[in-house]
């Protein structure tokens, strides 16, 4: 699938191209296994996958912190494995790791990075003021950043990455620990980056946010790209583009499943399955009868979400939105 996508992409204006990148830190364990993808000018591209899928390793190879064992990475046609300095000029990064902001105020941290990235002092000051205001961080603008909570530190790191945005802005889990209201403000700023001429590579394991924020995405699992496209195209993959969700009554055995129900995942008392549009009526009837029989507490039928696609592709239910203590009955159909 990845290779087909590459052929299509090479015909349009790709800013970043990753060709068959492989990386192993420990012999025999491929952290990146033949990864190929491309970022088109002016899009928000998501790299979605569970913890340990190899997303950050790929980012570190793009930015020149890690060297691939094989494969090629080009940025504006420049081979950045040979010229990592070019990648550092062209990309601005919000790393997953901590940013060194001890001793600095929010404003100082943002302005310093802006200047380091070649920004003019006056414009950087203005842009820092704008970001602080739009993310409603004025209260923290002149406070020492080492005392900040995790969420506030992430916001400062985000501002540092976008104060003088690169051709590509790489955001690695930008919203971790950030409160829901400021998350919305942050996504507005991410969208605004496109208007400023940047392309965004968003790395996340948060499926719901990715679905709303990205134009296209690649789903990565165990070092491999397992799916790529727009959220819509990924959801439309196959006939079963509807989802049935039902919650069983406590201490009730799971019912026998009819044939039209596919890709069933049990999470505690919650069952999520995919079905084709033509099966909506029989599915409704089946679910209703289960409710009447006292087997099901509640149910719903709606369009497939990216989370469903993600869980199916990744093959295990460790998406952030699912409870961690679920019992997976290994019912994911291929």
């Amino acid at each position: 699938m990845a290779i087909v996508q590459m052929k299509n992409d090479s015909q349009s204006s790709a800013v970043l191209q990753v060709y068959n990148v492989c990386k192993e830190y420990v012999k025999g364990v491929l952290v990146n296994d033949n990864i190929s993808l491309s970022l088109q000018e002016g899009e928000i591209f998501g790299l979605l996958g569970p913890n340990g899928a190899g997303k950050t390793t790929l980012v570190n190879q793009i930015i020149g912190l890690v060297k691939p064992d094989s494969g090629r990475i080009t940025l504006d046609g420049v081979d950045v494995i040979a010229k990592p300095g070019y990648a550092r000029q062209a990309c601005s990064l919000q790393a997953q790791t901590q940013v060194p902001i001890t001793g600095l105020t929010t404003r100082q941290a943002i302005e310093l990075v802006g200047r380091v990235r070649g920004g003019d002092a006056r414009r950087v000051r203005e842009r820092a003021r704008e970001l602080i205001s739009q993310l409603e961080m004025e209260e923290w603008a002149n406070k020492a950043a080492e005392s900040f909570s995790g969420g506030m530190r992430r916001l400062v790191a985000f501002c540092m990455a976008v104060v003088v945005p690169g051709r590509i802005v790489i955001l690695d889990e930008p919203t971790n620990d950030v409160d829901p209201l400021r998350r919305r403000l942050l996504w507005q700023q991410v969208r605004a980056l496109i208007g400023m001429g940047s392309t965004v590579l968003l790395v996340t394991h948060n499926v719901l946010e990715a679905e709303r924020a990205v134009d296209r995405l690649a789903i990565v699992d165990q070092g491999k790209v397992v799916g790529m496209g727009t959220p819509g195209s990924l959801k439309e993959n196959g006939n079963e583009n509807m989802r049935l969700e039902l919650t069983l009554e406590p201490r009730v055995d799971a019912p026998a499943l009819p044939e039209f129900i596919q890709s069933t995942v049990f999470t505690g008392r919650r069952l999520v399955a995919r079905l084709a549009e033509r099966d909506i009526a029989p599915a409704m009837q089946w679910a209703r009868s289960l409710k009447e029989d006292g087997v099901v507490e509640e149910f719903s039928i709606g369009p497939t979400t990216l989370e469903d696609v993600y869980v199916k592709m990744v093959g295990r239910a460790d998406a952030q939105e699912l409870p961690e203590n679920e019992v997976n009955h290994d019912t994911v159909a291929s």
């Binding site: 020149g64 990309c91 790791t97 940013v99 060194p100 001793g103 310093l112 380091v116 990235r117």
Partner: protein
Amino acid sequence: MTQSLRSYGLMLKWQALSKKPILALTLVVQVMIATGFIFGLGFFYREITPDTAKFITTGAPTIILMTVGLVLVPQIVAMARTEGTFDYIWSLPIPRLVYVAADATIWVLIALPGLVLALVIGAIRYNFGLEISPLVIPAVLLISATGMFLGYSIAHGAPRPEMANLATQVIVFAIMLFSPVMYPIEQLPDWMAAIHRVLPVKYMADLSRGTLTDMDVNLGLAFGVVGAWCLAGFIITYALVQRRR
């Protein structure tokens, strides 16, 4: 070049600000170590002549600068490695050695007040005169740079950051007790003296003695040996900070 200087200035500001929370404490500790070092000497010797005091006091700059370069810097770098902050710093569009230079500059500036104080207190307390040559500036810069580059080599070269911390403990012990800084090299066993004729520590002490007093020291040899170690430290540091995992 202009771009590198601009980056150096900005990183200097960044590093100075980042040390702000511990700056006062670090300065106090440095001054305490320096003055404690001078007064502590009195306990080693029943009677201390001005010449002996001069010999020992002028070893203080080497001890202080090596403590900063080979102990403090590797410990701070090891902490940053553990936190992963270098992943961020190395992603910035600045030459990595510019960052190292800015960091080293701040550390030398932090070490300088204690260093000067140790010399002044030593001269007054033990009643000897200092004869300061203009060469003291390149000498102090060379000692500092060598200590920093070797410190960076240990900090970035250690397979695990904790190992760098452990190495610094061994180094500080070796420098304090088994290096001909506080006593003449003739007092060491032959095999240890032979090692110290290759290592930079003795020559660093010679540099400070030769540029701060009228002591008879082969300054050319000292500049040569310390310069060679500085170059080696620079090359290793350069290779390590450029390295990709």
